[in-house]
Amino acid sequence: MTDVKFETREIGSLAKPPWRVKAFAGRPIEEGDVAEAERWAQKLGLEGTEELVETLRKDELGKDDLRLIDDWSARYGLALLERAGLDVVYDGEQRRTEMYDHVIRHARGFEPRGTIRSFDNKYYSKAAVVEEPSIDGPYDVDEYRFLAARTDRRLKAPFTGPYTVVDWSYDEHYGRHGALGATAEQRADARRRFLLDVAEHVVRPNAAAVVEAGCDWIQIDEPALSTRPDEVPIGVEAFNASVAGIPAARRSLHICFSDYTKLFPHVLSLDDCFELQLEFANRDSHELGTDGADRPGYEALFLFADNEDAPNVGLGVLDIHTNFVEPAELVRDRVVYAAELLGPERISVNPDCGLRTRSWDVAYEKLANMVEGTRLAEEALNRAHAGSH
């Protein structure tokens, strides 16, 4: 047996730095924001940031200035993930407004429909599909090329999945006529047609172009996939349609904050899906330990233990909703528990989801500890293996 080695990677987005947010919102950038840019440049070992600092201090920002700030924001995101020690990186989606909005603003066939309450005084924007969706051309290729030219790490490009786009949109096209009093079959058919059109005409051409540009790993993000359990099968069908014919070495699927029991057995029909990246830490105890009783958040791993043909597991070990910085030893125990249950060859390590709601300081500490904890898990498993011979 070769030494156990786990791959570490991010999932999705990081927060955007205040100097970027304010620049794009047209709000004044304060000296404290500039100081933050300088502090992080030093911490991340970024060189050449003088031009950024000079730009941030300008009284007025033009298009070229905003483009430069956008580029630097992506470089900071990339550097943060590299410095934390991750094996697989991206830019923390610094150039993307938000995972739903990013697609809607690049796709044809959608129109904004106003503000909806998420909860209390929190809101989100929602669009409606008004005609068959399409794109004029791929919209994430430049983002990928920019990063590929600036890192020697492996890149994993994230794409918002078709199910999430459909589920978070209104339908004024597919189910528009005859909706009142329609049968369940009619409603399901309208939904499926919408879903497959987004997969085939929006997600796939964009992802295919990124792979053609050199990316060998595409991650489809579907946080909403198990929202309606009866629709998981068409969600799987849409994943397959999204990646069909794309010669990426790896295709993976990220799902979070869901009842994973609803995914089985349907996810066994995912075409050539390398792994499911899932959130677990959010449900887990902070206590150390590698027994099942110590790791209540990881109970869903038994679904994978019972299904050897299931994709691998991208093991969420960081709770993205709290500032609690998981000690390396806690990460270690989570990884060891999963590896002992499924076999280390079926496990890789990542946060539960994107860390965009955490400050960069917290996100960095969490990720650095994730990497350290993963190394500790490797040592523990290799030591145990050596001891058994």
Binding site: N121, K126, R176
Partner: protein
């Protein structure tokens, strides 16, 4: 034929901004109050213009269907943030804490706003309020909802029931027992929102001790409505989860096909799942559908 709009109405863009600003410390609670009043005045005007028969206050201060009752009761509290059905919106799930559940005092005018005319009030169904608390629905009906109902001056109280269609007909006996405990107050209607009521209708939903039954016809097939229904049917014919605007003529023809004698046209759930601009247009179409149907009946 009647038309009205139970449930939580969306906030205007101005109120959205005001509440966001309040959370960020950029405005005062008084300024938000003033905007709530402007939203309410506008909602009343829109309902009157649409020709709706009973006015609603839109529950503009309710953070979700349960919150003011939970915060105003002993033995209950707002629990974890929970996804509302299969939407991308969330509510604080009712949670039991130590002590007997008891509404300390009826909700004041912040939560049941005065209106210039005949009105409806929306409250949670006792089954929905009790779900997940470990407390029987009848207990919460008696200790929380009944004192609230007794304090209301309403022409109809609509009990919103978003969960029973998904939980299934096995929950009907518990609901029946709880509704029996609410008798003697203002007229009640139980509205099954955002769900297929077919199974419930086949298992006695229409025999519950309420004046009216609400059905979502964007999830329920028309054929599931029992022949000879003798209750007021709150027909959910405007889809509160779709931005598409309904055709009043299509609604009028659909209602005719239902063949039910007493019908009130309503949205199939809270209109807060569309923006205020769209909700306003939906209310106008609700009223237009009623007018169209009335003309056809007269002809």
């Amino acid at each position: 034929m009647q038309a009205f709009a139970p449930g939580i109405y969306p906030r205007s863009e101005a109120l959205v901004q005001a509440t966001r600003d309040l959370d960020r410390g950029r405005t005062s609670a008084e300024a938000v109050d003033e905007q709530v009043q402007r939203d309410l005045d506008e909602l009343v005007r829109v309902q009157q213009e649409a020709g709706l028969d009973l006015l609603a206050d839109g529950m503009l201060r309710w953070q979700d269907l349960f919150r003011p009752l939970l915060e105003g009761s002993d033995g209950l509290e707002p629990g974890p943030l929970t996804r509302f059905l299969d939407t991308n919106s969330f509510y604080r799930a009712p949670t039991s804490i130590s002590g007997e559940p008891r509404l300390r005092e009826p909700l004041d005018e912040r939560f049941v706003a005065p209106l210039p005319g005949a009105r409806i009030v929306t409250l949670p169904s006792p089954y929905a309020l009790a779900l997940g608390t470990g407390i029987r629905a009848k207990v919460l009906a008696t200790a929380v909802l009944k004192p609230q109902l007794d304090a209301l001056d309403a022409d109809l109280v609509v009990l919103g029931e978003p969960f029973l269609a998904r939980e299934g007909a096995a929950g009907l006996p518990e609901l029946r027992e709880a509704l029996d405990a609410l008798a003697g107050g203002p007229p009640l209607a139980l509205q099954v929102t955002f769900g297929d009521a077919g199974e419930l209708l086949r298992n006695g939903l229409a025999e519950l001790s309420v004046e009216g039954i609400g059905v979502d016809f964007y999830a329920t097939h028309a054929a599931d409505v029992p022949q000879g229904l003798d209750k007021l049917l709150l027909a959910g014919v405007v889809d509160a989860r779709s931005s598409a605007l309904e055709d009043p003529q299509e609604i009028a023809e659909f209602v005719e096909r239902l063949g039910v004698e007493r019908v009130a046209l309503v949205p199939n759930g809270d209109l807060q799942y569309v923006s205020e601009r769209i909700a306003r247009q939906k209310l106008a179409r609700l009223g237009a559908a009623k007018t169209r149907r009335a003309k056809e009946t007269a002809a």
